[in-house]
Subunit: 368 residues, 2 copies
């Protein structure tokens, strides 16, 4: 099959950092090789930095970000537990489904898509939930919500946060903000191919975990024998075969980020997003996400009236090799999602996205 | 971190086929890119060939082989269902745990480790199980069991088979043998890095599936919208972000296998295993797996009396860059596992494993 070289400017995956791609081609290591175990330990350390946590139990789960969501719920929620979910997009909706499969009494707090989470409504939705769950950066709408405020008001509840599209892209401080359980993905601002779910859980949540969760694969009690908890003890228990190539790639991607400096990486995402969003507005397009809550790394823009969303995306893909995303859910045909994440969070990528979109819009006859 | 180049002669992962490694370094594709969707479809076709099936629902699950086990049970077993499990090693034991977490009434049929599954005992263990489960090639013991005989006698039960260490290494004919649900891993004889679980389920099992399984991530009803069932219809539903780099690598590894010819690949594994096992016997070592049921791709050998298993493995790793496996479970210190799988199923690898083991045994002072 001929190589196809895309600019991945959709909602993810983005183009990985070159260091992350190079690592995939290195000789494979066994999952119990001492060299690999050191690399895994260092990967967990690096993940702690991007999560903003000191949690011992910070690991890359061996599946994609959606499995991180599942791991978060199956390890903390069992029959009859009350789970308040802030729903302001597709991933909040999904949390309700996943929590319900754990037997939770789900209390969804619905929001208009495009708006951030209303912290007061979420915190007053139930007097004593076991878990309050929210999405930090909604991939479906391009909206950022205030996790720190949820953490400050959570009371006795555990705060469970989706950081799939925020990690290593915008400010994220799990410990300072009171996040008890968090999951992410590798294929967004971390700049690594999809396939792993960076996960973190603090002692408070671990102490209240489900002793024998319905998932064997994602059972943190079993996983602890292989990573994290066993560090330094010399004893590692086999649980499953870690995806060693992907872990090596994550290790390298994180190395690139920390070498640049995490706050510099955040600033680079902010600048690329600012360039893109101001350019889109100058072109006469409208942004979808509410002003003041727009993610720099993932921009949602309204498809202009009379323009065929798919036709424009096809021109971008076929003429320019650029992938952007359709909208999600009810907005599939009326919103585009443009991601400048990880390696793509650069001014030149922003300019290229703008120029190519202008070209495609002209091609379909749109005038502002 | 300096590159370390190992010969992975343990129970897996093995060294990938070069084609599979090269594919990991190719430009990343998005999971909804038409080029990627074609590649995914072709990957599923190729998987059908190595499974020996025409099942439409034949897909690479986005997690490792152990998640394939979990997917098999959560989609077929719910509260109170009777599951007969043939237990002749670690992975049969694990099946019992995973099935129990689905609420199954588990009927384990215990065997001595090193022996193949006793088909008559398994089939007579319960008059009307919903599922009969067995491991085709026990990675913990190096033993092959007769799946065709289980299929011939299964009656109304669904036959659920672990093919993690058999797929693309020894004869496997899912449809001819009556396998209803099967899972595998990529890191053994398929010659690809760990990270995906090739999975297949036939119409008979799919019709009897759990409508809303406890796992959202592994829910076949949801997964069907993205792969397999939607093929040709043009409509693909987003479920989760497929690990596109790993799928491209699997596609390439399968391409290599099918170019060589599946039966030729089986013959290559048989020959490498024969060379290794006859060489070990000539050295005066004893094999662990019962004669007549020995896997060519994974050889279990008894650690000679008075020899420190770990010391020998350390010499192999540090002097020769060769990884072999310790034993599993109660045999951790008394058995070695030597895998010649996928790209390593070659005469030169067999000779090297023998020569290096002889050197290490001499180093620790062992004489036959």
């Amino acid at each position: 099959m001929a190589l196809v070289d895309r600019k991945l400017f959709g909602p993810g995956p983005g183009n990985p950092y070159p260091e992350a791609t190079s690592a995939l081609g290195q000789p494979l290591l066994g999952h119990l090789d001492p060299v690999f175990l050191s690399l895994m330990d260092e990967t967990c350390d690096r993940l702690r930095t991007v999560w903003g946590t000191t949690n011992a139990r910070t690991i890359p789960l061996s599946a994609t970000g959606s499995a991180g969501m599942e791991a978060s719920f199956v390890n903390t929620v069992s029959d009859g537990d009350v789970v308040v979910v802030a729903v302001n997009g597709l991933f909040g909706q999904r949390m309700c489904d996943v929590a319900a499969r754990c037997g939770a009494e789900v209390v969804p707090v619905e929001h208009e898509w495009g708006a951030p989470v209303d912290v007061d409504r979420v915190l007053s939705a139930h007097p004593s939930p076991k878990v309050v769950a929210a999405v930090h950066a909604e991939t479906s709408t391009g909206v950022r919500s205030d996790i720190a405020a949820l953490g400050a008001g959570k009371g006795d509840a555990l705060l469970l946060v989706d950081a799939v599209t925020s990690i290593a892209g915008i400010e994220l401080r799990a410990d300072d903000w009171g996040i008890d359980v968090g999951y992410a993905g590798t294929q967004k601002c971390l700049g690594v191919a999809p396939g792993l779910a960076p996960f973190t859980i603090n002692d408070r949540a671990f102490a209240r975990r489900v002793e024998k969760p319905q998932s064997w694969y994602l059972d943190l009690g079993l996983l602890g024998g292989y990573v994290g908890e066993a560090s330094g003890s010399g004893g590692r228990t086999y649980h499953h075969t870690a995806p060693t190539a992907m872990v090596a790639s994550l290790h390298a991607g994180l190395g690139r980020i920390l070498e640049e400096g995490l706050e510099n990486v955040w600033a680079r995402h902010a600048e690329a997003g600012r360039l893109l969003q101001s350019g889109l507005l100058e072109m006469g397009l409208e942004l979808f996400a509410q002003e003041g809550s727009r993610l720099p790394e993932l921009t949602t823009v309204k498809v202009p009236d009379g323009v065929d969303s798919a036709a424009v995306r096809k021109i971008l893909l076929e003429r320019h090799g650029i992938e952007i995303g359709a909208g999600a859910g009810a907005y599939a045909a009326t919103v585009w999602r443009i991601g400048l994440m990880g390696h793509n969070a650069r001014p030149d990528a922003a300019l290229l996205a703008l120029a190519a979109l202008a070209d495609a819009l002209a091609e379909v006859g749109w005038k502002p």
